[in-house]
Amino acid sequence: MILSLDFSSETPIYLQIRNQVLLAIAGGKLKPGEKLPAIRTLANEAGVNMMTVNKAYQLLKEEGIISIDRRSGAFVSLSRDSKADVLARLSKELELIVSEAKVKGISKAEMRELFNRLLEGMEEEK
């Protein structure tokens, strides 16, 4: 799985790491149980601060996407949060996205089409 970090992007690096790991899991490129590089190794490889990688990993851990063990490192480990909890969190996040789309003049039909395309894309990748 290739992580592409864009230093000229406005998105912070830790968020780029988090987003791309999430996308890779959703797309089946990273599977549950798969090992992730150690914080120091990834920071050294990408030429970023260890705190940046640590922040991304902590965020992924809080979201129940990875687990971090002091001895064996980080693993993809989807937590068994109740579906209702996940839906509630996603609903909050989507509310913001939908509001932004409305402000920018994107119609409901366009949003539906975009959402369907993304879901289909994920199905294909899997």
């Binding site: 992580l3 864009d6 230093f7 790991v21 050294n44 490889e45 970023v48």
Partner: protein
């Protein structure tokens, strides 16, 4: 000067030229998708203009190498060691620098072509990291295979230090310490290989994983072998400078050392390159990043965004430093200093060879001067004096041993170890015994008169 020494020096240094030629010629073959230090998109590799530029570069390089092919043979017309060294060392410097002139020219030409054809590969502010390959390769090279090499390399220095500083010579300690430092450097590089960036040539992590492993295995093997070769050479050199082996053993060991290091480094590089080429060709989705903006003339790496001090070299073999890092700057400064010492050394030897040795007598002492004052023998220190019509056979331990100059510590047949400050072509010779040992000098008229006056019973 002995013809065998000339042949030996020539055999030792001449391979630099074919190696430079071979390595730079190889830069026209796409390494990943880098040609003459310029990153190109895969379809551009078949561009006719690109191929024509590569052909022109090959011809220019061939001409440069041909120009450099003959000057070293001038050594067979030179008699003095400093002139031989002057020819060979200056040639060596030119053999390293000149082939890079056509390289830089055609590198710039390809860069211009790339810009003209719009072959830039998107944002070069991007860094690609293969998470799977990185996680799987997160293994440090083991320390234990190098420990015995470090101990072997440290033995001569430890032996000399335990023998007592008064018994040994500073330059012997310096030689042992320098070679030990080289072994430590090889050990450090051996450990650093596993911290080098993961290779990315494809979307599929399996390809990146295999290539990264192959590169690391080959280069850890190389640095391990180099540490061992250097450790063994340290011992042989120490045995040679302390007079425990014959000079021929030292010559043979030096030749073998050079051949072994060259052989192992080329083996590591080309095993990795071949595999890289095969894997890139086999990959269904090849991938590359354009980092050209961080490479000055395709040779020097300067990337402030990269925290790594060592990266894989783009031109030639092995690794290079990141000049944006302090460690990179220090290493490059040291390398430049070493390169600059190449033209200085023959000039120093020339000064040694062509400056006459002056042996003068003052009111109370014999003063020996060569470039600067090197010895002063006070009359009251002299216990006895012996006059020799011929110089006995002598073997240099530390110092200068030329056809017209013996300066330093020597083992002299029938006399043991002592100091020699003389021109062997100018008999007679004097053996001056003091409490510290003996000193051999030329018996000039001035000195003979001084000794006759100061030493009771001495008559030339």
């Amino acid at each position: 000067m002995n013809i065998f020494i000339k042949i030996f020096l020539l055999v030792l240094l001449y391979p630099v030229l074919p190696i430079m030629y071979f390595l730079l010629m190889n830069e026209t073959k796409p390494r990943k998708n880098i040609v003459l230090g310029v990153t190109l998109p895969y379809p551009a590799l078949d561009d006719p203009e690109l191929k024509a530029a590569c052909q022109q570069f090959k011809r220019a390089l061939g001409k440069a190498v041909l120009l450099l092919a003959f000057p070293p043979f001038l050594v067979f017309f030179a008699d003095s060691i400093s002139v031989v060294m002057f020819i060979l060392f200056y040639w060596l410097l030119l053999a390293i620098i000149i082939p890079f002139i056509p390289y830089t020219k055609y590198h710039r030409k390809l860069k211009a072509l790339k810009q003209e054809r719009n072959w830039e590969a998107g944002s070069s502010q991007k860094i690609l990291v293969d998470l799977k390959a990185l996680a799987a390769n997160d293994v440090q090279a083991k320390v234990w295979p190098v420990i015995p090499a470090l101990l072997v390399s440290a033995f001569p220095l430890a032996y000399e230090l335990t023998a007592g500083l008064s018994q040994t010579h500073f330059s012997i300690l310096a030689v042992c310490a320098t070679l030990l430092l080289v072994t430590v450097l090889f050990f450090t590089l051996y450990r650093l290989v596993s911290r080098q960036r993961t290779e990315i040539i494809a979307e599929d992590s399996e390809y990146n994983l295999v290539l990264t492993r192959i590169r690391r295995v080959n280069w850890t093997r190389f640095w391990l072998s180099a540490a061992w070769i250097n450790a063994l050479y340290t011992v042989i050199l120490w045995l040679s400078v302390t007079g425990r082996t014959v000079f021929f053993v030292f010559l043979l060991a030096t030749a073998l050392y050079t051949v072994a290091i060259l052989w192992t480094v080329l083996k590591a590089e080309f095993a990795t390159r071949n595999m890289q080429h095969k894997l890139a060709a086999a990959s269904p989705a090849p991938l590359y990043t354009d980092e050209d903006r961080y490479w000055i003339n395709g040779m020097f790496y300067y990337n402030p965004n990269d925290q790594k001090s060592l990266v894989s070299n783009r031109v030639g073999i092995g690794m290079t430093v990141n000049l944006a890092r302090p460690a990179g700057k220090i290493t490059m400064a040291f390398a430049l200093l070493c390169l600059l010492s190449v033209p200085v050394l023959p000039l120093w030897v020339m000064a040694e060879e062509f400056t006459p040795l002056r042996i003068e007598a003052t009111e109370s002492a014999i003063v020996i001067t060569h470039l600067s004052e090197i010895a002063k023998i006070m009359a009251q220190e002299i216990e006895s004096v012996e006059l020799l019509p011929e110089l006995p056979a002598a073997r240099r331990i530390v110092g200068t041993g030329m056809d017209n100059l013996r300066k330093g510590t020597f083992d002299v047949e029938g006399y043991g170890r002592g100091k020699l400050y003389l021109n062997p072509r100018q008999p007679p010779f004097l053996v001056i015994y003091t409490r510290q040992g003996f000193i051999m000098i030329n018996g000039t008229g001035e000195v003979l008169a001084f000794l006759e006056d100061k030493i009771p019973g001495f008559s030339p």
